[in-house]
């Protein structure tokens, strides 16, 4: 079901079947262009599929923004080992709630995307790793997979051809770290979710040390539209180097929070005003976290910006996973920074010392600052600790904790200083 009304400004590509009656069923999927792309892909060579994916300018929707077609191209198709397709449905970046909708409303689109990836890299087995909290999605996926097997879209000799593919659902059990690709693979192998050192990357040595294509739900879900309408058509929806649409999750102090599919490069201020109905209560905008809690905060005056990977990188932030968290003028930025650090301290897997120790100490310092018990040296200490974490961990969790913290202090230093005077006296 839909949890918020759609916006007239949306460009519905991945969400075009949302809201249809029984949108998760195979019947509805087939009646609305479902598995058309698969039929097309079955008649194509892997090179042709990769060309379409590259032409689409689709970039990884999990957060890193790496070109998906290029990533698929790294899988050594001639390897004698089995190859795997793994879907990252461990959505847990604070501010992000889109993959949940893609699975709930259109599971067959994801399955078709997996099949296209399987054809592109010569893989015959796929796993969908769903976070444990999303139990109801596992039921929806199992139902969709059973329907697909019954009608010959999965299993041996798909649609009477030579290609065979099996799909399975796997559940996590509560761990943000398992959304990181190498920790996800460890978890999928039945171990603690701790990251692996890279290289080798999963494309070469992934699940069971075999070549693996691993992408976010939304990346796979885009593949059917790309194959159906052509990579160039998908690319044209976005900006140069940032193809297509993406699902933005508007949350926080907006009048109409919700998940909206908009073209890549959509202006952030316009998103808040015209899609989100403006800041709640008519208050002034103070700041926006543009892509989930790992992304450095933008001050209101930095928000006249195109929401694509390159524009956000230029502004020293990230587009991340599409979680747009809006904060009004009354928001205490020390409290926001503290709560986000509490999250990273809780979720650090403990494998790399800079992250394990750094997040805990930052949590302690930010907590005492927030409560009014900080000392003046705490403010530079936050920066020093954070900078000592950057680039010194196996996975990006350490950076994800440090980067936004540095930005909070640099951009809202006066609020941290105000807290030294005791309690929350934030200038509003």
């Amino acid at each position: 079901m839909l949890y918020n009304p759609p916006s007239p400004l949306e460009v519905k590509v991945l969400t075009r079947r949302f809201g249809l009656a029984n949108s998760a069923s195979l019947e509805t999927y087939l009646a609305n262009d479902g598995y058309v792309a698969l039929r097309k892909a079955l008649a194509m060579t892997p090179e042709q599929i990769l060309e379409e994916m590259k032409a689409s300018n689709l970039r990884g929707r999990g957060g890193a923004g790496f070109p998906t077609g290029m990533k698929w191209g790294f899988v050594p198709r001639n390897s004698s080992k089995p190859k795997y397709v793994v879907v990252n449905a461990d959505e847990s970046e604070p501010g992000t709630c889109k993959d949940r909708l893609l699975i709930e409303n259109d599971p067959h689109q994801l399955i078709e995307g997996m099949l296209i990836a399987g054809l592109a890299v010569d893989a015959h087995v796929g796993y969908i790793y769903v976070r444990g909290e999303y139990r109801y999605l596992i039921e929806i996926l199992e139902c969709a997979i059973a329907e697909a097997y019954a009608r010959g879209y999965l299993g041996r000799n798909i649609l009477g051809g030579e290609f065979s593919f099996d799909a399975y659902v796997h559940t996590g059990a509560g761990a943000y770290e398992c959304g990181e690709e190498s920790a996800l693979l460890e978890s999928l192998e039945g171990k603690r979710g701790i990251p692996r050192i890279r290289p080798p990357f999963p494309a070469v040595a992934g699940l069971y040390q075999c070549p693996t294509v691993l992408n976010n739900v939304e990346s796979y879900a885009a593949a059917p539209a790309i194959l159906r309408d052509g990579g160039a058509a998908f690319a044209a929806l976005g900006t140069p180097k940032n193809g297509g649409t993406r699902l933005y999750c508007l949350s926080g102090h907006v009048n109409k929070p919700g998940v909206y599919e908009l073209p890549m490069g959509f202006n952030l201020l316009r998103m808040i005003e015209e899609v989100g109905g403006g800041v709640r209560g008519g208050k002034k905008l103070k700041a926006v976290i543009p892509g989930g809690s790992s992304c450095p905060v933008l001050k209101a005056e930095e928000c006249d910006i195109a929401m694509d990977f390159d524009s956000l990188a230029k502004a020293k932030s990230m587009l991340g996973s599409g979680g747009v968290v809006v904060m009004d003028a009354d928001t205490c930025m020390v409290r926001a920074a503290m709560r986000i650090m509490r999250f990273y301290a809780h979720e650090s897997c403990g494998w790399c010392i800079p992250c394990r120790e750094g997040t805990l100490w930052l949590k302690k310092i930010l907590t005492r600052l927030e409560e009014g018990g900080g000392v003046a040296s705490d403010i530079p200490l936050i920066g020093e600790l954070s900078r000592n974490m950057l680039g010194r961990t196996f996975c990006p969790l350490g950076d994800a904790a440090a980067m936004p913290t540095i930005a909070f202090v640099e951009k809202f230093r006066e609020e941290f200083e105000a807290h030294l005077k005791g309690g929350c006296q934030c200038p509003s």
Binding site: P94, T96, G132, Y168, T171, A173, A175, G190, R192, S251
Partner: protein
């Protein structure tokens, strides 16, 4: 260890989902599904999962201690999880959490004396655009308020 027919079928399906020799992959799902039925990850369950997946009980224990949803002690019949992460925080999640604690008279991960309720302050559960969010067992509740939470607790109490 004797398992229910449903759990036995679930285990069998899981073990067949991974390539031969890779049964260990089923450990996390097996533990979570079994916990749903048994109420907690018991020592007996750890041994059973180890036996079925061909690893040692210690290796299973290593997994149990890592994942936040796995727990050794039983929770309340209705486990109320309140998210207070950033998007929920901005929409009253922290106040909602405080209200839940006061209403039930228990703290984080504690169980009421009658075993009916337990509460937990959780990290982002993926309902940011419909904050503040609560999960009762696996059921999502969006745009919660203290009043809505009170009504929910009363209806769960009546249902028993």
């Amino acid at each position: 260890m004797t398992l229910s027919a449903e759990l036995e079928a679930r285990f069998e399906k899981l073990l067949k989902s991974y390539p031969p020799g890779r049964e260990r992959s089923a450990v996390v799902p097996m533990l979570l599904y079994a916990q749903d039925e048994l109420g907690a990850v018991t020592a007996e369950l750890v041994k059973e999962v180890a036996r079925r997946t061909g690893i040692t009980p210690l290796q299973v224990d290593e997994v149990v201690t890592y994942y936040s949803m796995l727990h050794r002690q039983p929770l309340g019949k209705h486990h109320i999880q309140v998210c207070t992460n950033i998007s929920c925080l901005l929409s009253g999640g922290a106040e909602l959490w405080g209200h839940a604690c006061r209403k039930l008279g228990i703290g984080n991960k504690e169980v009421t004396a009658d075993g009916q309720f337990s509460i937990e302050e959780v990290e982002c559960i993926g309902a940011c655009s419909w904050a503040p969010a609560v999960q009762v067992n696996y059921e999502f509740q969006h745009q919660m308020t203290p009043e809505k939470l009170d009504r929910l607790i009363e209806s769960l109490r009546k249902a028993g």
